[in-house]
Symmetry: C2
Subunit: 312 residues, 2 copies
């Protein structure tokens, strides 16, 4: 067997390979009576990423779908749950007790899945309650490495304090991709602080926090418009210096609308591939969607395996 891939992971193929090398994990699926979730479990089991899935939900429907999908249920476990709420609670508890390493969404609303997760996280005995945030990882044909965008899926309009923690969550995802000190661009429409644009003021504050050690393990620059953040040519035109401009690993967006639209622009217009996780809790959460390709589902699960492996 080859040893660990040297340097950061820059392609999804390597991400899946690295997750396979790390070995399979146990996954809890809430409301598993879902064609797309079961298809992902099938692929990830075949790929050596999942050792066992606990499929919580409508047992009859799960059995029927498994047959239709040609998914062998023998390594897995089916647990009957009366409704979505019960399924989410059971699956979240499995992960909370460490009996599964990854939580996965089936045929239920994201809010229903997250409700018991948030309730459990609130019982944590720590000064600071955890913040769950969404980190999307993109393989963009026109960018020279993987690009992380956060948060386009969980926190609607983060405060400055929440932005600090969203950066921290993204830093952990970057770490499992082999990016030791990720370069974070705080996105705005301009490069100068403008009191009429709060995103620029908070970008300046985040840069200060990184300078004086209140925000560690990352290189931060901002406010940056997208071109300066990801294009070395544009950064040079604009006279933006420093290590982040033109070479960002993480784009911190001001709100969920921007993160969501930017991600979809990458997928639909720039033909990018995406893997996504909700992180910040005891275990990563995979929210695969209907419109994702089988390859996308596999990559999201591989990212979850890497993340879970790193926090073991």
């Amino acid at each position: 067997m080859p040893s660990a891939i040297p340097g950061p992971i820059t392609r999804f193929a390597d991400l899946v390979e690295e997750a396979r090398r790390l070995g399979p994990v146990k996954v809890a699926v809430a409301a598993a009576e879902d064609e797309h979730a079961l298809e992902a479990i099938k692929l990830a089991t075949q790929a050596g990423l999942v050792s066992q899935a606990v499929l919580v939900g409508d047992a009859d429907q799960i059995a029927g779908l498994a047959e239709a999908l040609d998914l062998d249920l023998s390594p897995h476990q089916v647990v009957e749950a009366p409704d979505d709420e019960g399924a989410a609670r059971y699956a979240a508890n499995l992960v909370w007790r460490g009996e599964a390493a990854v939580l996965m969404k089936g045929a239920l609303a994201t809010a229903s899945l997250l409700k018991p997760v948030v309730a459990l996280e609130r019982t944590r005995d720590s000064v600071q309650k955890p913040l769950l945030s969404h980190v999307a990882v993109f393989e963009v044909p026109t960018y020279h490495k993987l690009l992380l965008v956060t948060d386009g899926g969980m926190v609607i309009s983060p405060t400055l304090e929440e932005k600090v923690r969203i950066i921290g969550n993204a830093r952990e995802v970057a770490a499992v991709l082999g990016i030791a000190v990720p370069k974070v661009a705080v996105l705005a429409a301009v490069e100068t602080v403008n009191l009429k644009m709060p995103s620029t003021v908070e970008a300046h504050e985040l840069v200060q926090m990184a300078k004086d050690g209140r925000l560690t393990g990352v290189l931060v620059d901002g406010p940056l418009a997208l071109d300066g953040a990801i294009s070395a040519v544009s950064a040079a035109y604009k006279g933006i210096e420093g290590p982040v401009a033109g070479d960002s690993d993480i784009l911190l967006v001001p709100d969920i609308e921007l993160g969501n639209s930017l991600g979809k622009s990458l997928i639909y217009f720039a033909q990018a591939k995406m893997a996504g996780l909700v992180v910040g809790g005891v275990a990563p959460i995979v929210l695969t969607s209907r419109s994702e390709s089988p390859e996308g589902k596999l990559t999201s699960l591989a990212l979850a395996v890497l993340y879970a492996g790193a926090s073991r």
Copy 2:
């Protein structure tokens, strides 16, 4: 000569051709001592889009740059101005009096250029003072027609009332592109109204206004996430019906950060070309930037010529 291009313009080459057919216009350039503005004037004059440019600014510098760029000044007029403020005021007045059809930015800040424009517009004898907004037109290789995004350049965080007027301004740009009743997608992160996301509430309100005739000449749908707005496949997956989903002409974004980032994502990641105008005043305003290609500058001027021709 062929007659007018039938149906909407879907490529920038046709846009330039149509502007050429319409005939050249007079352009006022504020602070024309700018290599990039003069290069645009040179190209647009050669292409038959500009009959005369009034180059307001530092006459010596303008003459020097014209020589370096091999720009023949004989059809044009150079007007000495003491400073940026004076140049902007002179150029804005030319356009205000109808002595030039297009206002163009040279070597001065956008805010300095717009200051006298806004002051003049405020003197207009109308119930409703005009709202200036930015409309970006993109030719995206992965989209089946031209795509307008507004407002990623002027209005920072529009109110509902301003959104109505931003749509009206974009509708006029769509009209000169031959799009009689443009399809407007009001962008958000989700497709359902969520009181925690004001963009979804206002999207719903805009749809209602279009239904009951308070917003005319457009088809409006929203809230829509980007995928449902521009991908028929995604719209079908999500069960979104109606004429807008998957076939949008205009994307109305909730704020300048999203418009700016989306536009730059199209240019830098999806290899799109852009033409942009500030509209809503007596004449279109062209803000070409240093990082734009010569072709991009020409397209923006061609769009301005079409727009000016339509309002003649």
